[in-house]
């Protein structure tokens, strides 16, 4: 396996609703945790990448302000965006900068303060997530886009609303143990099934919540990683792909082609397959999204994703533990921070530092982070 670029530090703020901090202060919390235990200071970081979904930001060009606040100037900083997958796209750019030899140590900082906008303004942004020329004029929203995947999966494979609800049962049980999660309540199957419809077949508890939060990942080249930590986590494989923004352009409605493409690339680069993955974080913005991820990543054959959750194979004790930190469904989804939070969970798992959600001795972990309704797909494979 390639050992060229390592993650040496990973942190996140608590994900909360209506955070009483400025964006830069939120980022400071994530940065502080990422730096904890490292034998370096901010002066050793020679570049930074800042990631968010800009339509929620008040600050124009946030990278400069954040780099200044974290003492990362005068080193270069830049901004990267692919909506909900922004911070794993940031990781991809950071990896490239290090591999190219331009940088040795790069911090990837993701954030979103969704409460910066009024709920009225947020609803207006929500209507512009799709193709604004041809599809937003119909009132398309992100939940509606994923709901159409859920309906197609149900019609094609007989997937049920109860099977989707079981994803939330699992994730809420783990979310209750995650002190950084916005939603800590354990939900029963009945509570989920009885919640009101938002966009059929999704009910309230099939959907993740907005949140404010930040994440930070610190990457280092092979040459210097050992100077910073005794327990580097190596980037073994990276995959990224893009699908049409318009729903009319989608060739598949029972899986995300962007995720399938990205997974193939990442497995190939890492020289491993789905059976080699010991623990995974997938983009469960909705319950169906986790089922689609099981299939798109090859943990299950097309149509057989629901069986994995029925058999509890994705619990900590199962064949392939998935989202045992509560996932987006429990943690909340501060758009630009989400990918970094997923990476942080796998980083801790592979170092044996995941506490009461620790999977037994994992060697290889996977992160699946999706932007928009499957527009952008990022898959990252990490190893010890």
């Amino acid at each position: 396996m390639p050992k060229d670029v390592a993650i040496v530090g990973a942190g996140q703020s608590a994900f909360v609703r209506g955070c009483a901090m400025a964006v830069r202060e939120l980022c400071f919390e994530a940065f502080t945790e990422a730096m904890d235990g490292l034998k370096i200071g901010a002066k050793d970081i020679d570049g930074s990448i800042v990631c968010s979904a800009p339509e929620y930001d008040k600050q124009r060009s946030p990278s400069g302000v954040i780099a200044e606040y974290l003492n990362l100037i005068p080193k270069p900083t830049m901004y990267v965006e692919t909506v909900c997958s922004s911070s794993t796209t940031g990781l991809r750019v950071a990896y490239s900068l290090i591999k190219a030899g331009l940088h040795q140590v790069v911090a990837v900082i993701g954030f979103q303060k969704m409460s910066e906008l009024s709920s009225r303004d947020a609803a207006e942004r929500m209507g512009r997530g799709g193709d604004i020329v041809w599809e937003s004029p119909f009132g398309l929203t992100m939940p509606a886009g994923y709901a159409m995947y859920a309906r197609a999966h149900m019609a094609t494979y007989g997937t049920t609303e109860e099977q989707m609800a079981k994803i939330r049962v699992k994730n809420s049980s783990y979310g209750s143990m995650n002190t950084k999660a916005v939603y800590r309540k354990v939900l029963t199957l009945e509570e989920i099934m009885q919640s009101e419809y938002v966009t059929s077949p999704f009910k309230k508890f099939d959907c993740c919540a907005n949140a404010d939060g930040a994440s930070c990942i610190i990457l280092a080249s092979r040459d210097v990683a050992a100077k910073f930590t005794d327990k580097p986590v190596w980037i073994m494989g990276l995959g990224a792909a893009t699908d049409s923004t318009s729903m009319s352009g989608r060739k598949l409605l029972t899986g995300l082609l962007s995720a399938q493409d990205a997974a193939k690339q990442a497995y190939k680069m890492a020289g491993v397959g789905p059976d080699d993955i010991d623990v995974a974080e997938v983009h469960d913005c909705f319950t169906i999204s986790e089922i689609l991820a099981y299939e798109d990543l090859g943990f299950a054959k097309p149509g057989e994703g629901p069986r994995l959750i029925e058999e509890k194979q994705t619990y900590v004790e199962g064949k392939i533990p998935v989202n045992v930190d509560g996932g987006l469904l429990s943690k909340g989804h501060p758009i630009g921070a989400t990918g970094g939070s997923q990476l942080r969970t796998i980083f801790k798992q592979l170092r044996g530092e995941a506490g009461n959600i620790q999977v037994k001795d994992p060697k290889i972990g996977l992160v699946h982070n999706i932007g928009g309704v499957g527009i952008y797909g990022n898959v990252i494979i990490l190893g010890r």
């Binding site: 929500m126 937003s136 119909f138 009132g139 159409m148 938002v198 059929s200 989608r250 409605l253």
Partner: protein, 137 residues
């Protein structure tokens, strides 16, 4: 200009494909086809990505298609608050073209089934706006 008439809330007034509106006003829902390579586009576009040609023609989507998926939205974004509930859908036409749009609001929920045959037809909206919807074929 002219494209600001499209849909319940429009976000852009200008596109080379604005003739889509004139066709809707004449009762037709149209896609475009590249005259050079034959690729059909929906959403319509006047510039073919395959061979970078602008020699493109309009074609009719008058045949019927199959409902591939749908969702009934209970909470609309800004501008759609009083419009919900409404049903969004993706339909595959017999020529293979997939089209996103809305299902006829008059269709009883119990009759909506994946696989059902539908047709696209123009739909006049309040305030001189226009769109299209899928009705039972």
């Amino acid at each position: 200009m002219g494209f600001e008439k499209f849909g319940t809330v429009s976000f852009t007034a200008e596109t080379k494909a604005a003739d889509f509106i004139s066709f809707l006003e004449k009762g037709k829902v149209e896609a475009t086809k590249c005259k050079k390579c034959g690729r059909i586009y929906f959403p319509p576009r006047m510039q073919c990505a395959d061979d970078l040609s602008s020699d493109v023609e309009w074609i009719d989507l008058s045949d019927s298609g199959k409902l591939l998926t749908y969702t009934t939205v209970q909470y609309g974004p800004t501008g759609f608050e009083n419009d919900a509930p409404y049903t969004l859908a993706v339909v595959e036409f017999n020529n293979g073209v997939r089209v996103f749009g809305r299902l006829d609001k008059g269709l009883p929920p119990a009759e909506i089934k994946v696989g059902m045959q539908v047709k696209a037809e123009p739909l006049k909206l309040p305030g001189d706006k226009i769109s299209y919807q899928f009705v039972k074929a």
